[in-house]
C-alpha cells in the first residue's frame, strides 16, 4: 500500500508537468485546430534564456519568472512570424508549419550556439524529501503539484470569468459563430498563444529544474508528452488535456515500478501500447468534444 501511495505521488508530480503542457497544446488546438508540434520549442528557447541568465549569475528566483516571460514572448513571436501567415490554411499546412518551427529552432541553436548540452545548476531543494508516515515525498513533487493546481485554478478563472475566456471558449466551440458575435479573431488567437506560452513557461520551470541542462532538442520530450497527454484526454478538450497529463504521468511511474524486471525496459513501449488500445476502443480520447469546423 505504501509503495502504491508512493507511486501515486510520484506519478502526480510527473503528471502535473504533462498536464500543463497538454493544456497549452489543447488551448491552441481549440482555437486553430492546430496540433502544435512547436510547443516544446518554448521550453528549448526558455532553457537557453535560463542558461544565459545563469551565466550572468542570476539565481532561480530571477530565472524562474524570466522563463515564463520568455516562453510567452516566444509563443507570441512564433504566432506572429509563422502561424499568422498561414491562418486559414488547411490543418495539414498548419501542422507542417509547426514542424518547420520545431526544426528551425533546433537548427538555429545547433548552428549558432552549440550541439552540446548546456548545464546549469538545479535548485538545492529539488531532491529534498520529507516524510509523511511511511511515505517519503520529494519537496519538488509537492511544489509541482501545488503550483500546477494553482495554475489550473487560475486558468479556469481566466476562462470562466473574463471576456477573453468567454471569447476563447466561444472560438473553441465554433470560431465562425464567435466571429459573427463580435469576437476578434486576432485577439483571441494571440491571447491563446500567450496563455499557451504561459502554461509552457510554468511547465518549463519544473522541467528545466529537474533536467539541469538544455539542448537544441530539449523541447522534443516535453512536446511529445504534452501531445500524447492531450490526445489521451481528447483533442480540443481542456479538461481532457489535464486529465490526460495525470493519466500519462501515473501510467509511466506505475508501469516502471511494477512491470517485471524482464520487461521493465519496455515501459515506454507498454505505455504506447495502452494508448493504442485506448484509441482503438475510444478514438476520441477520454473526453468527447462536440467539434465544429475551425477557421
Amino acid at each position: 500500500m505504501t509503495e502504491l501511495l508512493q507511486n501515486l505521488i510520484d506519478g502526480l508530480g510527473r503528471g502535473s508537468i504533462y498536464a500543463l503542457l497538454a493544456l497549452g497544446i489543447a488551448v491552441i488546438f481549440g482555437v486553430m485546430h492546430l496540433l502544435n508540434f512547436a510547443h516544446g520549442e518554448l521550453i528549448t528557447i526558455s532553457g537557453y534564456a535560463a542558461y544565459a541568465m545563469f551565466q550572468a549569475d542570476f539565481s532561480w528566483y530571477v530565472v524562474a519568472p524570466a522563463i515564463v516571460l520568455v516562453s510567452i514572448a516566444a509563443s507570441l513571436v512564433i504566432e506572429w512570424v509563422a502561424f499568422s501567415r498561414v491562418r486559414g490554411a488547411s490543418d495539414f499546412t498548419l501542422l507542417l508549419t509547426s514542424f518547420g518551427i520545431h526544426f528551425l529552432v533546433s537548427s538555429v541553436f545547433i548552428l549558432y550556439v552549440s550541439a552540446s548540452k548546456k548545464q546549469f545548476p538545479r535548485p538545492g531543494w529539488v531532491t529534498n524529501t520529507f516524510a509523511v508516515g511511511d511515505l517519503s515525498i520529494e519537496v519538488f513533487d509537492a511544489v509541482v503539484i501545488g503550483v500546477t493546481l494553482v495554475t489550473l485554478l487560475a486558468t479556469v478563472a481566466l476562462l470562466q470569468r473574463t471576456m477573453f475566456g468567454l471569447a476563447l471558449r466561444g472560438a473553441a466551440e465554433d470560431f465562425d459563430t464567435a466571429r459573427l458575435m463580435g469576437v476578434k479573431s486576432n485577439s483571441v488567437i494571440r491571447g491563446a498563444f500567450a496563455l499557451s506560452g504561459f502554461l509552457a513557461g510554468i511547465a518549463g520551470i519544473f522541467w528545466l529544474m529537474r533536467a539541469g541542462n538544455t539542448a537544441p532538442s530539449a523541447g522534443i520530450s516535453p512536446m511529445l508528452s504534452g501531445v500524447i497527454a492531450a490526445l489521451i484526454g481528447g483533442m480540443g478538450s481542456m479538461r481532457g488535456a489535464v486529465l490526460g497529463g495525470f493519466v500519462l504521468g501515473l501510467a509511466e511511474v506505475m508501469l516502471r515500478s511494477r512491470l517485471p524486471d524482464g520487461i521493465a525496459p519496455l515501459t515506454d513501449g507498454v505505455v504506447f501500447l495502452m494508448i493504442a488500445l485506448l484509441f482503438i476502443f475510444r478514438p476520441q480520447g477520454l473526453i468527447t468534444v462536440a467539434r465544429a469546423e475551425r477557421v
Binding site: 508512493q6 507511486n7 528551425l104 533546433s106 552549440s114 538545479r122 533536467a211 537544441p216
Partner: protein, 429 residues
C-alpha cells in the same frame, strides 16, 4: 507593414541559414601548407618492414605539436595526403564530432607548417552526416570522390555502418570516438581508436571491487542494447565474476530521464549504503540520480560511469564530487593534450567544447598518416593493410596496436575521479 515584411525576410533568412547548415554539403577545410623558412618534415617514403620498430619511421608527433604557425618550415609541395572526415554535426554526437572536426584540420596545419609528411602536405575535408544514415552514405561518397586516402567517421553504428557500406571496406575508416566493439572489423577496414565497451566496463567493475565494494546497483536501458545496455551487461558480469553481487538492476531511458523517482524508491528499500552505482548514463543523469538517492538518505554510495560522463562534461556539472569515470585520456596541466588544446584556443580564439575525446580524433589522422608512411603507398587498400600492421604507436590517447587484433586496440583504461572539484587520475586498468 514594413516591420512585418522585415520580420518575414529575417524569418526566411533564418530558414535559409538553417537549411544550408544541415544539407550535408561538405566543407573544404583544407589545411594551409606552411610557408617559407626551412625545416625537415621527417623521414623518407620507403615502405617499412611490417614489424619494424615504429620509432624508425614513425610520425614525429612532438615535432608536429611544437610547430609554430607564425614561423613555418618550407611549404610541402608533394601530392597531398587526403584525410576525409565524415562527421555528425547534429545533436546526436555533434558535441564531440564538431570540436573534433575543428581540431584535426588545425593539426593538419601544424603538420604542414612542420614541412608536411615526407614533403607531402596534408589536406582535410569535412562532410556532415547530419544525424542521418542516408546522409552518412552520401557524405562518405563525397569524400571518396574527393580522393580521401582514409576516413575518420562518427561514433554509433547508425552512421558508421552506412559509411562502411559506401567504402565497401576499400578505404580505412577510423571510428574516432566510438567504443562499440561491433564497429571494429579489420577485415572491413574499420578500426576503433579507443578501448572498447568490454574493456571499459570491465575496468570499472574491477576498480569498484578494488575499493572493497561487493554490492552493485546497475542502471541499464535494456539487455544487449548497444552502449546503454551492453556496458551495464559487461559491468554486471565482471563484477559478479570478481565476487561481487548485483543487488538491483534498474531501467531508465538513456539521454532522456532525469527523474528517477520510481527507481530510487525501490533502491531505498534494498540498499544499505555501501553499494556502487554503475550506468552508462550522461553526466546530468548521474548527478540527478545521485541527488534523488541522497534525498532518500543514501549519501555514501559510490558512483562510476563510462566515457559518456567525460563526453557530457562531468567535470563541469554540480554535485559531481567523488564520481568516478573512464575517460579516454586523463589530461593533466601542461601535458601534450593540454598543450595542444591550449595552442588551438590561442590560434583560433575559441576553446573546444570537448577535451577528453579530442585525442582520439587527432590520433585517427596520425594513424592513417603513419600507415601511409609505413607502406610508402597511396592506394587506400594498401594503406588499410599497413594499418593492420601498426604496432606500439604512441598516440595522444595512449599506445595503439592493431597488429594481431580485429581492429580494437588493446589500450589501458584510465579511471578518473572528481576529487576536491578536480577531475584526477586515480587508477589505470
Amino acid at each position: 507593414m514594413k516591420l512585418r515584411k522585415m520580420l518575414s525576410l529575417i524569418f526566411a533568412m533564418m530558414l535559409l541559414a538553417a537549411a544550408c547548415g544541415d544539407d550535408g554539403e561538405s566543407s573544404d577545410t583544407t589545411a594551409d601548407a606552411g610557408s617559407d623558412t626551412t625545416a625537415d618534415a621527417g623521414s623518407d617514403t620507403t615502405a617499412a618492414a611490417v614489424d619494424a620498430p615504429p620509432s624508425a619511421e614513425s610520425l614525429d608527433i612532438d615535432t608536429v605539436l611544437a610547430a609554430d604557425l607564425d614561423n613555418c618550415a618550407e611549404a610541402p609541395s608533394g601530392d597531398p595526403i587526403k584525410v576525409g572526415m565524415a562527421m555528425d554535426f547534429s545533436e546526436v554526437v555533434g558535441f564531440v564530432d564538431i570540436p573534433g572536426s575543428k581540431l584535426v584540420p588545425y593539426v593538419a596545419e601544424l603538420i604542414n607548417c612542420a614541412g608536411g609528411v615526407n614533403g607531402a602536405p596534408v589536406e582535410v575535408q569535412v562532410a556532415d552526416v547530419g544525424g542521418d544514415a542516408a546522409q552518412a552514405a552520401i557524405a562518405a561518397q563525397e569524400l571518396l570522390d574527393w580522393g580521401a586516402h582514409f576516413l575518420i567517421g562518427p561514433p554509433f553504428a547508425d552512421f558508421a555502418l552506412p559509411i562502411l557500406q559506401t567504402t565497401g571496406g576499400q578505404v580505412p575508416l577510423f571510428v574516432a570516438a566510438s567504443t562499440e566493439p561491433t564497429l571494429a572489423d579489420a577485415a572491413a577496414n574499420s578500426y576503433l581508436v579507443s578501448f572498447d565497451d568490454t574493456l571499459m566496463s570491465t575496468a570499472a567493475a574491477n576498480w569498484a571491487l578494488d575499493q572493497g565494494i561487493t554490492r552493485a546497483i546497475v542502471f541499464t536501458e535494456g539487455e544487449g542494447i548497444p552502449y546503454s545496455g551492453y556496458n551495464p551487461d559487461v559491468f554486471a558480469q565482471a563484477f559478479t565474476d570478481g565476487g561481487g553481487e548485483v543487488v538491483s538492476t534498474q531501467t531508465y531511458v538513456w539521454g532522456v530521464d532525469t527523474d528517477f523517482s520510481s527507481q530510487v524508491n525501490e533502491i531505498a528499500g534494498i540498499a544499505d549504503g555501501t553499494e556502487v552505482v554503475f550506468s552508462a548514463a550522461l553526466a546530468e543523469q548521474v548527478t540527478a540520480l545521485r541527488g534523488q538517492l541522497e534525498g532518500q538518505g543514501l549519501n555514501d554510495l559510490t558512483y562510476i560511469g563510462t566515457d559518456a560522463l567525460d563526453a557530457t562534461g562531468l567535470a563541469f556539472v554540480e554535485n559531481n564530487e567523488g564520481i568516478a569515470h573512464t575517460p579516454h585520456v586523463s589530461i593533466s596541466p601542461g601535458d601534450r593534450n593540454d598543450t595542444l588544446l591550449a595552442n588551438y584556443e590561442a590560434a583560433k580564439g575559441e576553446a573546444l567544447e570537448s577535451r577528453g575525446f579530442m585525442a582520439l580524433y587527432v590520433d585517427s589522422m596520425f594513424l592513417g598518416i603513419q600507415a601511409i608512411v609505413d607502406c610508402g603507398c597511396v592506394d587506400p587498400a594498401e594503406i588499410g593493410e599497413a594499418v593492420q600492421n601498426i604496432s606500439g604507436f604512441q598516440g595522444l590517447s595512449g599506445e595503439i596496436t592493431y597488429a594481431g587484433t580485429g581492429g580494437i586496440p588493446p589500450k589501458s583504461v584510465p579511471i578518473n575521479r572528481i576529487v576536491d572539484g578536480e577531475d584526477v587520475l586515480v587508477d589505470t586498468k
